[in-house]
C-alpha cells in the first residue's frame, strides 16, 4: 500500500488547500485529504491537522472538532508514534483532544493578527529533524486565538523535557516581549508531546514553501515528512 500524507479536514477547515499544496505540489509527495468522518488511517504515514475555523471556532477553537470520528484514529496513530503536525487551528484541535498539553487563548491584543514573524528552533522533534536547534525561521502567522497557556507546572515540565519546539523571537533570534505577537507564555510558538512525534504550532510553515509568496523557511519543516514516507515505504 502506498504511504501518503493525510490532511485531515473538518467542516470549516480552510488551511487544507495550503497544506495539500505544500506536500503534494511543493514537496511532490503522495497526499490525500482525510474527511473528518473517516475512521481509519490506512496508508497514511504522516498526519497533518491544518488551519482554519473548524466548526466556525464556535464554543472554543477546536472544541467541537476534537469529537469528530477521525480523531480516534488520529489519537491511535499518535500513540503508535506516527508523526502528527497540527498547524494553527490544528494545534488548537490537538490541545483540545489532549494530544498536546495546554490551551490557546485569545491573543493578548484581543484581535486577529496576520504578519510574518520569526521563531527560533528550541529543541529536536520529528518535525524539526531537517533544521538545527538555534535556527531562526521566518513564517507567517494568522490567528485570533494563539496565546499559548499552560499552568506553571506544565510549563516547567515542557521546558525541562525539551518539549518547547518553537519560540517567538526577533530577526536576530532574541526572545523579547515585542517579538511575541500574541502574549504566549514564555513566547511559546510550538510544542511537542513527550514522544516528539506530535507537534503543534501557531505559525504556518505550509504557507512558506516558495520564495515567490514571501519565503521558503517553512519548507524546512514540512520536508521532515519525507523520512516517514521513506521508512514506511
Amino acid at each position: 500500500m502506498s504511504q501518503q500524507v493525510g490532511v485531515v479536514t473538518f467542516p470549516g477547515s480552510n488551511g487544507d488547500h495550503d497544506a495539500w499544496n505544500a506536500f503534494a505540489n511543493d514537496l511532490g509527495v503522495p497526499t490525500r485529504m482525510v474527511d473528518y468522518r473517516e475512521t481509519d488511517l490506512d496508508g497514511i504515514a504522516v498526519v497533518v491537522v491544518p488551519g482554519g475555523f473548524s466548526y466556525g471556532d464556535y464554543l472554543r477553537c477546536g472544541a467541537i472538532a476534537r469529537f469528530a470520528p477521525v480523531m480516534n484514529a488520529v489519537r491511535e496513530f499518535a500513540q503508535r508514534g506516527g508523526p502528527v503536525l497540527g498547524i494553527c487551528n490544528g494545534f488548537q484541535v490537538l490541545t483540545e483532544a489532549h494530544l498536546l498539553p495546554g490551551a490557546l487563548l485569545r491573543n493578548e491584543s484581543l484581535r486577529f493578527h496576520c504578519d510574518w514573524i520569526h521563531v527560533k528552533v528550541e529543541n529536536r522533534s520529528f518535525w524539526t529533524s531537517d533544521v538545527e536547534v538555534g535556527d531562526i525561521l521566518r513564517l507567517p502567522i494568522a490567528h485570533g486565538d494563539g496565546s499559548y497557556f499552560a499552568d506553571d507546572e506544565t510549563i516547567a515540565r515542557l521546558e525541562s523535557n525539551g518539549q518547547v519546539i518553537f519560540r517567538y523571537c526577533d530577526a536576530n533570534g532574541a526572545v523579547l516581549d515585542n517579538a511575541n505577537p500574541n502574549g504566549s507564555r514564555r513566547a511559546i510558538a510550538g510544542i511537542a508531546n513527550e514522544g516528539r512525534n506530535v507537534v503543534g504550532l501557531m505559525p504556518h510553515p505550509e504557507r512558506a514553501t516558495d520564495p515567490l509568496v514571501g519565503g521558503a523557511d517553512g519548507r524546512r519543516i514540512v520536508t521532515a515528512a519525507l523520512s516517514a514516507l521513506q521508512v514506511a515505504v
Binding site: 464556535y58 464554543l59 469529537f67
Partner: protein, 93 residues
Amino acid sequence: MSNAWVAEVVVMPKAGVNDPQGEAILGGLHDLGYRAVSRVRAGKQFRVEIDAENEAAARNAIAEMSDRVLANPVIEVYEIESLTPLTGAGAER
C-alpha cells in the same frame, strides 16, 4: 450596611437574531449523539462588582452599562439575573 454590590448579567442574542454559534454547537451535539437537543442559543455571562449608595443606584448603573457596553442592543438583550450585597467573605476581590 454594605456599599458594594455584585450583579450577574446575562447577555443573549435577541429573539429572531441568527445565532451561528448556537447552531454550530447544536450540530456538534447532534453529531455526538445528543439527538434530543432541539435548540441551543449561546450568550455571555458577566459578574460585575460595583460600589453604589443603594440597590436602586447599583441596578441603574448596571442597567446603563449593560445597554451601553455589555450588550449590543441592536442584536442582543440582557437581563440582570441577580443583584446582591457583596459580603466580605464571598467577595472575589
